[in-house]
Structures are given as structure tokens and as C-alpha cells.
Amino acid sequence: MSGAAANTIVHWTAWTVFAFFFALVTVLGFVAARWKKADLDHLHEWGLGGRRFGTVITWFLLGGDMYTAYTMVAVPALVFAVGAYGFFAMPYTIVAFPIFFLLMPRLWNVCRRHEYVTLADFAQGRYGSHWLALAVALTGVLATMPYIALQLVGMQVVFAAMGFGALANGAEIALIVAFVVLALYTYTSGLRAPAMIAFVKDAMVYVFVIAAVIVIPAQLGGYGAVFAAASHAFAAKGGATGILLQPGQGMAFASLALGSAMALLLYPHTSTGVLAASSPDTLRRNAMLLPAYSVALGLIALMGYMAIAAHVDAKGTAVVPALILKSFPEWFAGFCFAAIALGALVPAAIMSIGAANLVTRNIWRPYVNRNMTAKQESTVAKVTSLVVKFGALLFVVFLPLEFAINLQLLGGIWMLQVFPAIVFGLYTPWFRANALLAGWAVGMTLGTALSWMQGVKPTYPVPCVGTVYIGMIALVANVLVAAMFTAVSDLLGRARKGDATAAGDYADARGAAG
């Protein structure tokens, strides 16, 4: 393998540029504790930045959060391997924003009015069931853990590309150092740290993307040549590959896009970023501004074809770093690698904060210590954020990569199963807590089982319909069960649990800006 030869050299120039940016954001991460100064011994300050982030900060934060490092290496890797099918990321990040525009301001309003910090807090308030809240919280934590692990993978491939594999355990040691630093400033600064770092990270990602989409195709003879090269490569490769979708791929492509968009908005790292916004209009403006990141993601996805045209000798997640090293001078490669690594730090921090908020509010408080003071609450969250991150680190260092990838895939299917409780709950109090719980259990079981039967794959061939995203199949079953149970309980005249929210809580406050 000629790729192995390249990896035996440590790219010192790239590494120096990388180290400079890494040091810069480390300082920022600790300074962030004093930004918009407040008492970080309160969970809504540590874990939600005091709900004071305006349009611009929210844009950087959510952009840095939803478009992760793993996405930046995994999407082009999929496009490199199979072609058009990997572009489901485009419709996915298109349809996410109309949904975001409709749902998130309602969610923000009700959570602000009742001081909810997590989606599970909302489920608890809406349905009066701590078991349903627990289900929502566990799903969030379970889906987030492997996602954090994959952010580490994003960093690992960058370290490997810079030649750290040549040193004994070099890539692992670099990864551990980076993660300890991340854990420490997340502990001290909370959500303020990734919010501040996101400015640097996102600016760097845009520079990297703009340079890549101009420089690399120019080296390869233009976009026409890039698509032609990819088309030939897929024709030679055969199977379900090509620069257009193959027959039978359409349904899988569309359902994967829609299901992923619906799940994205339920992930703890998204809701944490959303609830940290300063007003519902901040979120509506962001629904218009965030698609800029989708443009960047679409262009990054095209790097999969550029890698084919450039005859990059790499596989999987190593494709993008290899293309960068091949196309750019070493100092700029270091800059791009820093952008990707910071692209891992921001979401990893927010994910661990989101998971920590869930554990504190919806597991620790109801089941371990009902009478926590504000300070105890924020301490539990801070410690949990450390535990979650080190758990993810152990995962990546000791278990095969396949494991984290499979679990993250299942995580998307699982996350989708809280859709009825949360999203229907934003519009109607009709569904009952126990019915939603039953639907959730059916969805989780069915989704996991179907995926397992396919060898941990995201899609399942449904007779007469086509190949469909398993998350959507499980969701349909989930909703049917929840609706049936609710209807039957209503017929039997069973008592309903209390709803702490009122219809007016979901609308914008009167006199609020805009």
C-alpha cells in the first residue's frame, strides 16, 4: 500500500499549523467562562449558556454542532464509495429547516416558560410521567454516546494523516491529550466554551471548503472532468453505485433523508443549542441562515468524487485527509486538518453537555436525589460530562471502529422513536403517557431488530413499498401503537395524568421582540 508509506513520515509543517490553532481554541475555551458573566453553578447557565445566545452566536453554535467532523469525513467517504446515494445528506439538510422553523420556536417557548433544560423535562411536564421522561432521556444519552465516539474518530483520522501513526501510539496519545483539554474547559466553562470555539472552527471550515472547491477541481480539469471520472469509476465498479441514483435506491434515499432530518432535531446536542437561544425569532432567523452550512456540506460531499478523479489511494474515513494532503501545500493541509479536528471538539463538547443535562435532570434528580440544590445540580452535570467523554474515549481506543459506527447508526433509529412524545406533544395533549411509552418500546425493539436482521444496516426491503429507512418503519409502528393505546384508554375512561403546560405556553410571549 503506498498509503502506508506516506504515513511513516510525520508532517511537521502541517502539525505546527495544527498545534497553533489547537492552542488558540484551548485558550478561548477557558476564557469563555467569563463571557456573558454569570454564576456557572446553575445548570441553566453552565448547560444552556443562560439562554442568552443571539442570532449570530446561535448560528455559529448550531452550525458547529449539527455539521460535525464525522459528517465532514463520513459523507465524502460514502460518496467516494457509492456515489449519488451518499448525497442523501443534501435533501436531509434541506428538509430539516422547514421542520426546524415550525417546531423549534414552539419548543423554545414552552421550555422557557417552565424552565425546562431538556426534552425529557418537557415530556415530564406535558405528560406528568417520569417514566416517559426517563425513556426520552435514556434514548438521548444512548444515541449520543456513540456519536461522541465518532467525533473522536474524526480527530483520529486527522492525526493519522499527519503521520502520527509513525510514532509509537502517537495517534492515540494525541487523541487523549486533545480530549483531556476538551474535557477540562467544558467542565469549567460549560456551553460557553463550544459557543466561543465555534466562531473559529466555522470560519476555518468555510475557508477550507472554499479553497477546496476552487483549487482541487482546477487541478483535475474542472467539475465536468471530476463527474466524468467518477462516472467511469462507478461503471467499472458496478453494483448499486453511480453518479445518479440506481433503480430501487430512490425510496431509501428519500426516507433516509426525511428520517435523518426528523431525528437530527431530537438529538440532545441540537435541543441544547436550540434552548440556549435568546428568543423564538432567533431560531426562526436561524432556520433561514443555517442552510449556508448545508451548501458547505454539499461541497464537502463532492470531495468524494474529487478523490476518485485524483486517484487518491485511501479508503473510508481516510479519503478526505488523503485528498487534502495530495492537493494542498503542507501548511494549508495543517489548516484544513485543524478545521476538521475543531469540527470534532465543538459537537463533542455540546453532545456531552446535552447528555449531562439529561442525566442530571431526568435520571439523577427523580431517582437519586430529589432535593438537589442548584450547585449540586450543576456539579452532577459537570461530572457527568467528564464521564460521558471518557466513556467515548475508551470506546474509540479499545473497541473496533465498526462498533461505534454501528451504534451511531442505531442511535439515529432510536432517536426517531421519541418523535411522537416530543413533536406531537408540541401540538396536542391528546396522546397519553403510557401509550407513548408503549409506542416507544415497540419502535425501539422493532427498529433494532430489523436493523440487526440486515446485519446492522439502515434500510429494510418492505414488500410492495421498496427499500425504506428502518427508523421510519419503526416510527410508523410506534405512532400506530401510541394512537391505539390512547384511543382504547379514552374509551375505558381511564384517568389522565396532569399536564403542567397550557396552550398559551407554546406561542410567542406578547411584547417579545418581533
Binding site: 449519488a84 434541506i94 445518479l244 442552510p291
Partner: protein, 56 residues
């Protein structure tokens, strides 16, 4: 009901046969690709229209 406008991007990007073809190409991009990019640019004004309608 301006909100119904928000259904357009779902139909336009999830009904794959609308755009799963190579021609007409634009600047070297097959139709499939530039069509999806164009939608990303149509999305903000569309949401803006709905947003403005809310306040009126």
C-alpha cells in the same frame, strides 16, 4: 395558510424522479447535483415569506 409553502421543499427534494437525471448539466454539474444546490438557495427566501406572513 402561507405555511403550506413549506411543503414545497419536501415534495421537490424527496420525490426523487423529479431530478434523478444528468441533463441539463450546468457548469459541469449533472442536473441531480445543481438542482439540490439551487434548493438550498431557494429555502431561505421561502422561509422568510412564511415568517413575514406570521407577523402580518
Amino acid at each position: 395558510m402561507r405555511r403550506l409553502l413549506l411543503l414545497i421543499p419536501f415534495v421537490a427534494t424527496l420525490v426523487v424522479p423529479f431530478y434523478n437525471r444528468a441533463e441539463p448539466a450546468l457548469l459541469g454539474f449533472p442536473f441531480f447535483y445543481w438542482y439540490l444546490f439551487v434548493w438550498l438557495f431557494l429555502l431561505p427566501p421561502l422561509i422568510w415569506l412564511v415568517h413575514r406572513g406570521r407577523r402580518a
